[in-house]
């Protein structure tokens, strides 16, 4: 019997039909993925299960009995908890208080000593006793650790059903691995887990079954993950081939030789932006990739004059530029499509027409409105965005779907014909159809010679839509590279926050301190090498690349070691650059990159096998016999 069953769930928000007859079932001991594109209804469905919102109609059965929860608290009592990406923790309270928060809210006296014992036991159960202490303040924890506290909170409530809503959005690959391990063990102990995500590789990594939503309808119910192909899942989610959405139509990404429109040099605007550099050319789409909290939005807000930089320079068309306010930026030909549509873009009491012309108003210096002067431009834009003019102009924005709203906000940026367009999460909360037309629009804008910067947390989107990608991590640029050279996994490694990459960095630093030479963390694929981190600057041991570099392997100084058996020192034909490469694997055996060590002259006491063991022990999660594996390029 199913642990949880949903039948014929309908839900509507205003004019948007979020769910149309959705059904779902969850068994004890399984991890069940709920997938779908942005706006497919997966969050709505999980929020219905967690009691945060109520369906318009439909049944929810828990252990076969009809469940009528009136709110999140009832759901928690019934053993259902949601672990969200935007954590619901009280940052000023301790780990213990947060874990036991629901208990504190209940009537009766508290036995703190018992609670502490219990919390300690729970932390032990998930194997975190060494790093997580009950007395730590939540505000001092990393995002990954905070998520653990959320999970502990669910466990303290004895929840049988735990919903994970995009839990990895702010996690490094390493932290995500840890989370998946924990999820597995929870499932083994009989919990039913719902995993909401749009990252395919994660779905294949951790789930048992998959239910796919598209535009509020179930298109595939409870398919066994093993039997699925990635392409098939994408087709189910999107309803067509993925390439179509990005409107490439077989066109290759261009490397334009247009003039540099924007150049950012060592921009700093603490605390979120520390050292960011990149450039964008006319006619190019630059993706600004990174995890949540990497400082991407803050970077473009600084360019746009919403924040004032502390140091670093911005050049617009080769001339120094500094916007004291958004008005300066708009007048200089910069458009911004902000991240938070409701909070930063829509004026709810204005008609669509006035919303569309808001930036025009901001840029205008005359006293009067001059809406008439933009009439032709507005009509042309509405036509291009497939927005019906007659139905739209005097209506209230809030009556429209997210996609429609986003198109109007996009039109607001375009009506002034900017030279540089900054788009922050342009497809958040937007249905798949509109997404595709927003991508098409973006392409056309770029083709017309506008320089575009797109910020997105969706790695797939950022790779799909960009010509080049600049990766940020913890407020600093780490790499800038052509989009066709990179995939989701490598992007994840570049984007890993310093806090989690620190472990690798420490190991690299220890190796250099002990043996000299240079140590680096990289990946090799398609004849190229991607360097995520490098320690040591001995010129005689230079491997031929620096952090953030992505040279062709043949052009590096360690080409001789790539393709040779791992776990041993390899010298080039002339005996130079002795190099040890050690591939690191995650629990599922997938690659977490390669750690390498290159010398000018290897120390006499260097024991390749022992060093390999040391690296694997420090960083690897699956300890393969190293000499069985070869490092493939």
């Amino acid at each position: 019997m199913a642990l949880l069953e949903l039948r014929d769930i309908w839900k509507r928000f205003g004019v948007t039909q979020a769910l149309s007859g959705a059904a779902f079932d969850l068994r004890a001991g399984e991890i069940h993925a709920l997938v779908g594109a942005n706006g497919a209804g997966k969050s709505t469905l999980s929020r219905i299960i967690s009691g945060h919102i109520r369906p318009d109609s439909g049944d929810i059965l828990l252990n076969g009995a009809r469940l009528r929860h009136a709110g999140a608290r009832d759901a928690i009592r019934a053993g259902i908890t949601m672990v969200t990406q935007e954590t619901s923790l009280a940052p000023d309270l301790s780990v213990l208080e947060n874990i036991m928060l629901p208990r504190i809210a209940m009537p009766g006296r508290l036995d703190w000593r018992a609670l502490r014992r219990q919390a300690q036991a729970l932390i032990g159960e998930i194997g975190q006793s060494e790093v997580l202490r009950p007395d730590m303040k939540v505000s001092e924890l990393s995002i990954g650790q905070r998520q653990l506290v959320e999970i502990l909170k669910a466990l303290a409530l004895d929840s049988r059903i735990i919903i994970f809503d995009e839990p990895t959005a702010a996690l490094s690959p390493h932290e995500a691995e840890q989370l998946f391990g924990l999820m597995r063990s929870l499932a083994t102990r009989g919990h039913g887990l719902i995993f909401v995500s749009h990252r395919l590789e994660e779905i294949f990594a951790v789930t048992d079954r998959v239910t796919v939503l598209r535009e509020g309808r179930i298109v595939a119910s409870g398919l066994a993950t093993e039997t699925l192909q990635q392409g098939e899942l994408v087709r189910l989610m999107v309803g067509r081939e993925l390439q179509d959405i990005y409107n490439r139509g077989g066109r290759s990404r261009r490397r334009t030789d247009g003039a540099v429109v924007l150049r950012v040099n060592h921009l700093s605007c603490p605390p979120m932006v520390r050292d960011v550099s990149f450039e964008v050319r006319a006619g190019e789409v630059l993706g600004l990739a990174g995890l949540v909290g990497a400082g991407r939005s803050e970077t473009i807000e600084t360019i746009f004059g919403l924040r004032q930089p502390v140091s670093g320079t911005i050049e617009l068309d080769g001339k120094p530029f500094r916007a004291r306010s958004p008005r300066d930026a708009i007048r200089a030909g910069i458009g911004l499509i902000p991240e938070d549509r409701r909070g930063q873009a829509i004026v709810p009491d204005f008609s669509v027409r006035e919303n569309l012309l808001l930036a025009h108003l901001g840029a205008r210096s005359a006293v009067t409105l001059g809406y008439g002067t933009r009439g032709a431009a507005v009509r042309a834009l509405l036509e291009r965005l497939e927005l019906p003019e007659r139905r739209l102009l005097d209506a209230n924005m809030l009556n429209f779907s997210g996609g429609m709203q986003q198109k109007v906000i996009l039109a607001r940026g375009l009506v002034l014909a900017p030279r540089l367009l900054l788009l922050d999460e342009p497809t958040r909360g937007v249905d798949i159809g509109t997404r595709s037309s927003i991508y098409a629009m973006l392409r056309r804008i770029a083709d017309e010679g506008v320089a575009c910067v797109v910020v997105s947390s969706d790695f797939e989107e950022v790779i799909g839509v960009s010509d080049r990608i600049a990766v940020l991590s913890d407020g600093a640029s780490v790499a800038e590279l052509p989009a066709e050279l990179i995939d989701i996994e490598k992007l994840g490694m570049f984007a890993a926050p310093r806090s989690s990459a620190e472990k690798t960095h420490t190991v690299l630093a220890e190796l250099v301190a002990r043996y000299g030479g240079t140590a680096y963390w990289m990946a090799a694929e398609g004849g190229r090498l991607f360097c995520f981190d490098r320690v040591g600057d001995d010129p005689s041991a230079d491997p031929g690349f620096v952090t953030g570099g992505f040279p062709e392997i043949a052009a590096t100084a360690i080409a001789h070691a790539v393709g040779a058996p791992a776990g041993a020192l390899h010298r080039a034909a002339d005996g130079a650059r002795p190099t040890l490469l050690v591939p690191i694997s995650g629990k599922r055996g997938h690659s977490l990159g390669i750690v390498g060590l290159t010398f000018g002259r290897a120390p006499a006491d260097f024991d390749a096998a022992a060093v390999t063991q040391y690296i694997l022990a420090a960083l690897g999660e699956r300890r393969d016999a190293p000499n069985e594996t070869r490092i493939e390029a």
Binding site: R12, G14, V15, D56, F304, L306, S325, P326, R327, A329, I330, R331, L336, P338, G343, Q344, A345, I346, V347, P348, D349, F350, E354, L358, A359, L361, G362, A363, R364, A366, V367, T368, L369, R390, R391, L393, D394, A395, N396, L398, N399, R412
Partner: protein, 335 residues
């Protein structure tokens, strides 16, 4: 959560092509229309109850009475549109009146007017700067200014009323043009100007955008700081204008002048359909609000209702007006 086939109200344009434009939707979208209906209804009821109500004399009297509170309500509308409030206007009428009275004894009348207006604008500027750039709640700052203004009025006047004002001052409210009092014409001119400002200038739309979503207005490059300050400056300035007309009517200036008028002004704006959260309201609505209040007060006087009961009546009107506004705008949103 109406079903798909519900009335396609505000999704439709303003042209006649719109299907099913019911009276309710018209009422729900047009504040001015709604208010004019209310005014007509109130007038009808009052003229039925009292034959004196609709006489020319009574009407002219009401027009004159509307001037001072109308001027204050105009300034208050701008402030409430940006989501603020100005509690200091009544006290500022008091202190700017004293400035006017003291000046009139030393300088020519136009210069005295200038001093009076400058004093009001200066107080508004202080309010606006502290609220906008000091990020202190408007309620607190203007409450403080209310106390300061009244206190200064007593200090400057030595707690005595000022009389012996030049006869020319009285002409402002005694004269009439085409049988309409000049001061009322000034009020209408101010409202017309304000209507044009709010609907056809960048500054006016900035005030609406600011009250509706300040962050979006900022991102769009509007000068929200400047206009937020200016709203309070205009409100202070209108206190000065109100003080001039008040003095011209009674030809005597008392430091207690204008006391309690801030609440009448706020009430008029609220009855006129503005939202205290900002972003929604209209200057025409405010003018109607001023008259609804005056009519009711006048009607109660004509009916010989004890003045002690008038507060209850006006208070009920305010509450019912806001409640009705809520229900109607809810209907609009669901549309």
């Amino acid at each position: 959560m109406t079903p798909m086939n519900g009335p396609a109200t505000s999704l439709t344009g303003q042209t006649g092509t719109a299907p099913r434009r019911t009276l309710l939707t018209l009422l729900a979208t047009q504040i001015e229309l709604r208010m004019s209906l209310v005014v007509v209804a109130v007038m009808a009821v009052l003229s039925l109850i009292s034959p004196y109500f609709l006489t020319l004399n009574n009407m002219l009297n009401l027009l004159s009475q509307s001037v001072v509170v109308g001027l204050l309500a105009l300034g208050q509308t701008l402030v409430i549109l940006i989501g603020g409030i100005d509690l200091s206007v009544g006290s500022l009428v008091g202190v700017t009146g004293i400035v006017l009275g003291l000046s009139l004894h030393h300088v020519p009348m136009p210069v005295a007017f200038l001093f009076c207006l400058a004093a009001g604008a200066a107080a508004g500027l202080v309010n606006g700067l502290i609220i906008t750039y000091g990020r202190v709640a408007a309620f607190v700052v203007t409450l403080g200014m209310m106390s300061i203004g009244r206190s200064l009025a007593y200090v400057l006047s030595g707690a005595n009323s000022i009389s012996g004002l030049p006869a020319g001052l009285g002409a402002l409210s005694a004269d009439s043009l085409f049988d309409i009092p000049v001061d009322f014409l000034v009020l209408i001119a101010c409202y017309a100007l304000c209507w044009w400002f709010l609907n056809h200038t960048k500054g006016g739309r900035t005030l609406y955008a600011l009250g509706s979503n300040a962050e979006a207005a900022r991102v769009a490059g509007l000068r929200i700081g400047t206009w937020s300050v200016l709203a309070y400056v205009i409100s202070g300035l209108m206190s000065g204008v109100a003080a001039i007309f008040m003095a011209s009517r009674i030809l005597s200036i008392d430091p207690i002048g204008g006391q309690g008028l801030e609440l009448d002004a706020i009430a008029a704006v609220v009855i006129g359909g503005a939202s205290l959260f900002g972003g929604r309201g209209s200057i025409i609505g405010t003018l109607f609000g001023v008259f609804v209040m005056l009519f009711i007060r006048n009607g109660l006087n004509l009916l010989n209702v004890s003045p002690y009961w008038q507060g209850t009546a006006i208070g009920s009107v305010i509450i019912v007006a806001v409640l009705a506004e809520r229900l109607l705008s809810g209907a609009r949103r669901r549309g």
